[in-house]
């Protein structure tokens, strides 16, 4: 079982400076197969920046990123494209391709990147939509879908590339409360199926139940990390615990309006 010990994705000493501001300061992470790492932290901590660094959408100034022990050379377009295929990304605001139907959103990269034929891509895309419970909606355009449905299409789109790891940037924070559940259910299924994931979220119940590790970020650094049990135990006195209690206190107030 040596395989399961070596990380799927490893990022070492990632630093990013944007507009003269140190956004990420020496951040490192290792994810082993089947792990779900949860990033939490206040707004502006750098969670989105970090996740985008992990697939070079924001190129890090310094640091090394490796997939299954192979260091990624982001200067090489072929290598970068191959790497990104294997790292699925889910955005807070979905970013579905607005001019394509749900099924074509999933199929386009299968055709243009993975090189499948139109029919094969369509078949595979339908299978992925089925997996997130949306095969009935395959012909609809993004503007005709609810937020929860959009995010599930986005997940199907990422899954279609057979990623080795998924990065999820607050996948439910743009959703109406009643739609959060359907998206979390899909992510829960993924976790149960052994998908390796790094997820930024403010859904603390979800994190507590499913995270293998929680990383607490603030001002571009990871200042605490550990299992949910360690960090969230009552009386643990951790920043993470503090932060979560404040979130939970705020939640009922937010639910009222």
């Amino acid at each position: 079982m040596t395989v399961s010990l070596s990380p799927v994705l490893s990022a070492r000493h990632i630093s990013v400076n944007l507009g003269g501001k140190q956004i990420l300061d020496d951040v490192s992470i290792d994810v082993s197969p089947g792990e779900l790492k949860v990033l939490i932290g206040p707004s502006g901590a750098g969670k989105s920046t970090f996740l985008q660094c992990l697939n070079f959408l924001i190129p890090p100034d310094t640091g090394i990123i490796s997939l299954e022990s192979h260091e990624i050379d982001a200067k090489n377009p072929r290598a970068l494209s191959l790497y990104r295929r294997q790292v699925g990304m889910i955005f807070q605001d979905f970013n579905l391709f607005d001019h394509l139907t749900a099924v074509d959103n999933v199929a386009i990269a299968l055709r243009k990147v993975a090189g499948l034929s139109r029919d094969e891509a369509r078949r595979r895309a339908m299978a992925e939509l089925d997996r997130v419970g949306l095969s009935q909606k395959s012909g609809l355009y993004p503007a005709e879908l609810s937020g929860g449905q959009k995010q599930r299409v986005a997940i199907a789109r990422a899954l279609a590339m057979d990623p080795k790891v998924m990065l999820l940037d607050e996948p439910t924070s743009a959703l109406d409360p009643e739609l959060v559940g359907e998206v979390l259910a899909v992510i829960r299924d993924l976790a149960a199926g052994g998908m390796t994931m790094i997820m930024a979220t403010h859904q603390m119940d979800f994190a507590q139940a499913l995270a293998t590790e929680i990383l607490f970020m603030e001002q571009g650094r990871i200042i605490e990390q550990g299992s949910p049990a360690e960090l969230l135990a009552p009386g643990s006195g951790t920043r993470t615990g503090d932060f979560c209690r404040r979130l939970l206190d705020a939640a009922p107030a937010a639910a009222k309006d």
């Binding site: 697939n55 494209s81 990104r84 295929r85 605001d93 391709f97 243009k112 355009y141 990422a158 590339m161």
Partner: protein
Amino acid sequence: MTELLLAKLSVILDALPYILEGTLVTILTVAGSLALGFVVGVPMAVLEVYGPRWSRCLIRTYVWFFRGMPILLLLFLFYFGLFELIGLNLSTIAASCLVLGMASAAYQSQIFRGSIQSLPAGQLRAALALGMRESEGILYIVLPQALRLSIPGWSNEFSILLKDSAMCFVLGTPEIMARTHFVASRTYEHLALYLTAGVLYFCITLVGVSLLRCLERKVRIPGYASVNGSF
């Protein structure tokens, strides 16, 4: 009175086949220029948004040059000046298409640039995250959306270019304006003949703009506001 009108009518009717032939030349010139402007304008817009710094400077200079000069001057400058100098022997129609097309590329590039920049940055980011190259993301994700958004602006460019094409008569291009001028200077029926030419331009504009509106409706993305104002 009726006799006078009939006389005018017969002048128009006599001249009509000749002027209508010019309509074909006008349409050909406009279609050629628009096509050239499109083929050059789209890559220009893409390079101006995504390209390296030097390409951006180059394109801005090009746009500045062609937008900064009257069409009439450009026609003279290229046809009698540059083409003459480099020994480029073009038919008047081809020369008209080339000059109008290069100028139109400058305008069209800015229509497309506006559309590209109005798209959320997340569209290209999502394409890259799936493993598409930047060029693939632009081709399959950005441009299909940007071109849809460009149709109203492009329709504007069409109607302006159509009227600019009348300038080509100075090169001797046998289009509507040149032929009308030719007949009018012989028959002295200026009012009736130029009115006829005006109606022809008017009709071409109407047909072209209607076709573009049809196209706009046809490629409309469901869920977006429609051209009819219904939602």
